[in-house]
């Protein structure tokens, strides 16, 4: 229970269905240090909201402290990825390495049979009864299956997504009808542990050397100017380059080269690619024996595009799109869909 409307409604629905529900909220980072002005701390407020909802539902509620695990499993990876010139996806790591791992173990220790979250996704037990498929949430604008691609069968078997088959406005409407105190709370945005959205400052604070100066180069290797650290850029970025384009056409970030602190820039056409490889690939049901036609999604807000995926063994895969895709970013996930069903996914190399 994050204190948001989605997990609150998830808990409410389960309680209404007669399940014995225990509310758990994760304390993930300490924002109390150095706090000089009162009332600016969001995380404590969210935990407080979760407690109010649990109280309204008359279920027990506990805050579990996962600061250490969150730092080791999510934040460190986030920092390392940026420093390596990649664009990290911390929410996916948090799901597979924390929520459906450490938190699920805690829940099991308390005798819980399943872990429910407020994700917009669906888990379905196959007809034969011993395998679980993962599907998109029914609200296309809210679907979060992209962030859940790395769940294993064992994790899916114990996962429950009570709001996955409801659209967001219905979830809010339900919260209002039940009088939940968070019914009109705005959706959370961006990365939870960087409340001011300034991930550049966050990265530089953790690894000062990430802020080393470097240069912009074009595709031919010509130096076009200098910049204040590659972690300030992501593939596909156009704003904030402060570069005079030699051709007057807009310039985009094409690639990041951490070894020599170079940011490669070029025209939009150079951002388009048809092929990618991925590692750490997870197949929800089973690894396909041959090439598989899928719709592949390369960002949370990307319209999955027709592609052919081939398993390369050792959790690697190759994806070839039918048409070129814009800004394929290393560090993001590529998730393969067959209709609504997640076939698998991996981390873009």
């Amino acid at each position: 229970m994050s204190g948001g409307v989605d997990s609150s409604v998830a808990a409410a629905l389960l309680a209404e269905q007669g399940h014995e529900v225990i509310g758990l909220s994760m304390q993930l980072y300490d924002q109390s240090d150095g706090q000089t002005s009162f009332g600016s701390c969001c995380s404590i407020d969210d935990l407080h909201d979760a407690r109010r909802v649990a109280s309204a539902l008359d279920i027990p509620h506990y805050i579990v402290n996962f600061e250490r695990q969150f730092n080791e499993q999510v934040i460190s990876n986030f920092i390392d990825e940026y420093a390596a010139g990649r664009t990290p996806l911390p929410c996916a790591h948090c799901n597979s390495d924390l929520k459906f791992a450490t938190l699920a173990e805690r829940a099991a220790g308390l005798g819980a049979e399943a872990v429910a979250t407020g994700h917009y996704a669906r888990v379905e037990r196959d007809a034969d009864g011993d395998r679980f498929s993962l599907k998109r949430g029914v609200d296309p604008g809210k679907d979060q299956s992209y962030f859940l691609f790395s769940l294993t069968q064992a994790q899916l078997a114990r996962a429950v997504f009570p709001i996955g088959h409801r659209p967001k406005d219905e979830v809010r409407e339900y919260a209002r009808r039940r009088g939940l105190p968070v019914a009109d709370k705005p959706d959370s945005q961006e990365i939870c542990f960087i409340p001011d959205h300034d991930y550049r400052a966050f990265v530089t604070k953790r690894i000062p050397e990430a802020g080393r100066e470097g240069v912009f180069v074009d595709e031919q290797g010509r130096v076009l100017g200098s910049h204040a650290g590659i972690h300030r850029f992501t593939v596909g970025q156009r704003k904030g380059l402060a570069l005079a384009s030699p051709t007057a056409a807009p310039m985009y970030v094409l690639a990041l080269r951490p070894a020599d602190q170079q940011v490669v820039v070029g025209p939009r056409s150079s951002l388009e690619q048809t092929r990618l490889t991925a590692s750490g690939v997870n197949w929800i049901l089973e690894e396909p024996a041959g090439p598989l036609r899928v719709a592949a999604q390369i960002r949370h807000r990307h319209q999955a595009a027709p592609a052919t995926v081939r398993a390369l063994g050792d959790a690697h895969a190759e994806v070839v799109f039918d048409t070129p895709q814009l800004a394929i970013s290393p560090g993001q996930a590529v998730v393969f869909y067959d209709g609504d069903a997640v076939v698998g996914g991996g981390w873009i190399d």
């Binding site: 304390q27 404590i44 027990p60 506990y62 579990v64 402290n65 099991a108 220790g109 308390l110």
Partner: protein, 385 residues
């Protein structure tokens, strides 16, 4: 059956206290500062309470200042003495490393205003040694603050010995007696202190009422300024119903200190023996002898205290990992860390604290339930590891 073994966090009201609070709330609404009959009634209720609390700590009623609770009393003791002594050139404060946050954070706050502060280390049982204080104290030390009994482990400190050292150097001695008052004899003269804090809700009184005992003649500045309440020492219209309840709670506690102490110690020892004998890999944290009778702090090897606490609550058994944190989350105990316990042990320790309504059935229920819960949590740890 719900079992409440968290009396060090707070206690339920004694029935006589509830009655006194209700009666005062209903019948004694006057402002104690008023001249008329209604004011005099309130004043009389407070005088009764003042005498009862004074008797509990062997002080004089004129030395009792009512506050909003233990935290305010600790703030008042340290800030009030620091303010009063600053003109004399003293700029140094000493406390033990295992104090309550009310003391530790007050020192931190004063450190930001230029005061030097020293935290005295403790040994592996949580006790402050006189030698450590001798090493730390200087000619400009204003206040030494050491709690009489620790909230997390119950360990009792050698306050009289420490007070003598403080006085040799002209410093004031404060003791936070929040966890000892009502549990063991607290005698301000025998302890030799200048300032002593206590709180009503730790001994079956109401929340929102506490006391700072200030030895007659001690130079203090008020920290809450306003009207001439409490002989100019603490401004603000008095919380008469809570103070009336405090008085009754003090009277009740004083009357049965030894009999109740022995009863609760027997229950605590039964609980402790039951856990140590019934659950492998358990050990008591803190001093075993120099301890208040109601507290035991036990570590459960290879178990996250956080999980065990929740599992117990789901079984209807309320315990604690130590001092309740404001955010409701669980942080590694500064007390257990100061004792030098390794991280795996500070994170696997639970505090059981008993009191007025605790029974042998409750103790036996906890002893019966614990092995199963611990086994389950350990099984998961093994799989995960």
């Amino acid at each position: 059956m719900r079992v409440y073994f968290d009396y060090n966090a707070t206690t339920p009201l004694a029935p006589d206290v509830t009655e006194a609070v209700v009666r005062a709330t209903r019948d004694v609404f006057g402002n104690a500062s008023s001249v008329h009959h209604f004011g005099q009634q309130a004043k009389a209720a407070m005088d009764d309470a003042r005498s009862a609390v004074a008797a509990l700590v062997n002080g004089d009623p004129s030395e009792i200042v009512f506050t909003s609770g233990g935290t305010e009393s600790d703030n008042f003791a340290i800030r009030g003495a620091a303010d009063a002594l600053e003109p004399t050139g003293r700029r140094h404060l000493i406390a033990s490393a295992v104090e309550h946050e009310a003391v530790l954070n007050t020192l931190r706050s004063l450190a930001r205003k230029g005061w030097r502060t020293t935290l005295l280390p403790v040994d592996h049982t949580g006790i402050v040694s006189a030698d450590r204080l001798r090493d730390a104290i200087t000619a400009d030390t204003a206040v030494v603050s050491v709690m009489q009994a620790n909230n997390e482990i119950g360990t009792i400190q050698p306050i009289a010995e420490l007070a003598a050292i403080a006085h040799e150097h002209g410093a004031l001695m404060h003791t936070d007696a929040v966890q000892s008052a009502g549990k063991i004899p607290v005698d301000v003269r025998a302890l030799g202190v200048d300032l002593l804090s206590l709180s009503a809700h730790k001994f079956n009184g109401p929340k929102g009422a506490g006391v700072l005992w200030i030895k007659r003649g001690t130079r203090m500045q008020p920290i809450v300024t306003g009207g001439k309440h409490e002989r100019n020492r603490r401004a603000g219209t008095e919380n008469v119903p809570a103070i009336a309840g405090l008085g009754v709670a003090a009277h009740l506690a004083a009357g049965k200190l030894s009999s109740e102490g022995a009863r609760i110690a027997a229950l605590r020892d039964r609980l402790e023996a039951g856990i140590l004998g019934g659950v492998a890999g358990t050990a008591v944290n803190g001093a075993v002898d120099a301890r208040v009778p109601n507290t035991t702090n036990i570590s459960f090897e290879r178990v996250e205290a956080e999980s065990l606490l929740i599992a117990l609550d789901l079984e209807g058994i309320a315990v604690s990992t130590g001092s309740a944190c404001s955010s409701g989350t669980l942080e590694p105990s500064h007390v257990l860390r100061a004792m030098g316990l390794p991280t795996h042990r500070t994170q696997s320790s639970l505090r059981f604290s008993l009191g007025m309504f605790s029974t042998q059935e409750e103790v036996d229920r906890v002893v019966e339930v614990l092995p199963r819960l611990v086994e389950k949590l350990r099984g998961l740890t093994r799989k995960a590891g």
